[in-house]
């Protein structure tokens, strides 16, 4: 099997004042097991060294290579070109992030700002500051529940897949809520539901979510956004009762 496949790739360099956004077309010969990530590297090596895109791990772990592939935001390194029978693949950068160039967006900056805004780190309990003390053991079920949410690779897909987020810049988005849910269920964290209410109990937080479920349907790690956001919604609504 060695068919020709075509790529329509978004090209734009925001650093270059003269440049205008455009789509460029490339062709290459498909190889067995080819992913979009492999194809992009080949295009850059053999056809166009100026092509910009991100990757680190090529194994769905680092979350760098997310882009919109034929209308679905996902990880390029986990998408086989063979999934597209007509051999036509359109690549767009993730919407909603600062564009670095072509397919490369600054998700890192977004994730950092989000973490600072929502305080996405463990806030230990008052009696828990002695670093020489042995940590309390954690029930395996709790550890498993936390681990389930820790699998997030911060790829930004859920942010791009959310029309609410695209409409309202200040909306925290699914990844922020997933991380809040992660600390909410952590018995070591001192914050109470009331504390979290101050961060996400508003139109920019869980009550701004319109349950469009773009996050749930596109997350490459299959994180349970729908359940977690519903859980936070109930929890946050209960604080005003």
């Amino acid at each position: 099997m060695s068919r020709q496949i075509s790529f329509n790739i978004f090209r734009y360099d925001p650093q270059d004042g003269q440049d205008k956004p455009k789509m460029e077309r490339y062709q290459l010969t498909e190889t067995p097991g080819m992913t979009v990530f492999i194809a992009l590297n080949q295009l850059r090596e053999q056809q166009d060294p100026s092509l910009q895109f991100d990757f680190v791990c090529r194994a769905g772990i680092c979350g760098s290579c997310a882009m919109v592939i034929n209308g679905f935001p996902t990880l390029a390194c986990r998408t086989l070109t063979a999934n597209y029978p007509d051999g036509e693949i359109t690549l767009m950068p993730l919407p909603g992030f600062e564009l670095i160039g072509d397919l490369s967006v600054n998700t890192g900056k977004f994730m950092r700002e989000l973490a600072e805004r929502l305080k996405l780190w463990l806030h230990p309990k008052a009696d828990d500051h002695d670093m020489h003390r042995l940590e309390n053991p954690m029930a395996p079920e709790e550890a498993a529940r936390i681990y389930e949410l820790e699998r997030c690779v911060e790829c930004g897909v859920c942010v791009s897949a959310c029309a609410t987020k695209q409409m309202r810049e200040t909306f925290v988005g699914a990844v922020g809520m997933m991380k809040i849910a992660r600390f909410e269920m952590d018995s070591r964290d001192a914050r109470t539901a009331d504390d979290f209410y101050h961060v996400i109990g508003n139109q920019d937080g869980v009550f701004g979510c319109m349950t469009l479920l773009g996050c749930q349907d596109n997350c490459p790690k299959d994180l349970p956004h729908m359940q977690q956001i519903a859980y936070l919604r109930r929890k946050m609504a209960a604080t005003i009762l």
Partner: protein, 241 residues
């Protein structure tokens, strides 16, 4: 140490937790739920005309409180009162749902831009729910205005309204719009609060309900039109055997 998280950031000036957000979200869902469940009952009551004029007549009398009346007849004022209550509920629902509307041109463009670049079913569903919600604003008002000003319901009086007063024109448009909006709304409410997370099942039920109610409603409407065509003017109220 304090684990309070109420720290303003550049993105969001805070204070954050707004009790109003939670209340609005609850109110929107509760009113939506009441309206949706009301719709399910309403469709069936009104479809009792399919079982004959006699059945419909007695059902109307019963719902209008005939058991509290010395004659066999109920009180049309009941219809009037319920219509006023429904109007209030719709007003609350519309006011709280209005939070979700893309109120600025930029938001509308972001929504449309999103939908043209990212394919996502539930987002499209929401978009149409918003459009139908907007239309319902007028349709529900028109429907309830009739019921408040002119609350006489009966096999002949209703048929007269549908056929001779041309109310069928309203209902032909109203029926599919309210069914789509209401049933998709119920689907969303269930997922939004995590009543169930079996999304495929809820979706299937929603599909079946829409098709079923559309058939039921259309059949009932056709029946009223047929009865209306047979009536001689001026229309006499139906007299049961």
């Amino acid at each position: 140490m304090s684990a309070k998280t109420r720290v303003p950031t550049a993105i969001n000036g805070g204070p954050y937790g707004q009790a109003w957000s939670a209340k609005a979200d609850c109110l929107q869902s509760i009113t939506g739920l009441i309206l949706g469940v009301f719709l399910l009952f309403h469709m069936h009551f009104e479809a009792s005309i399919l079982l004959g004029k006699e059945t419909f007549f007695h059902m109307v009398q019963f719902l209008e409180g005939s058991m509290f009346s010395s004659t066999d007849h109920g009180f049309p004022i009941v219809t009037k009162i319920i219509s006023v209550i429904m109007l209030v509920i719709v007003a609350i629902h519309a006011a709280t749902a209005l939070r979700r509307f893309p109120t600025q041109l930029g938001q509308w463009r972001a929504m449309r831009g999103f939908m043209s670049s990212i394919k996502h079913k539930d987002t499209q569903l929401w978009f149409w729910q918003m459009i139908t919600g907007f239309l319902l604003f007028f349709l529900v008002s028109a429907h309830l205005a009739t019921m408040i000003l002119n609350p006489e319901i009966g096999p002949h009086l209703s048929a007269e309204r549908v056929y001779h007063d041309n109310a069928w024109l309203l209902y032909v448009v109203f029926l599919p719009i309210v069914l789509f909006h209401g049933i998709v709304g119920l689907y969303r409410v269930i997922l939004k609060w995590g009543v169930s997370s079996n999304r495929p099942l809820i979706r299937t039920i929603a599909h079946v309900l829409i098709v079923y109610l559309l058939c039921l409603g259309t059949l009932s409407l056709v029946t009223y039109i047929n009865i209306g065509m047979e009536l001689v003017l001026p229309v006499q109220p139906f007299i049961p055997n």
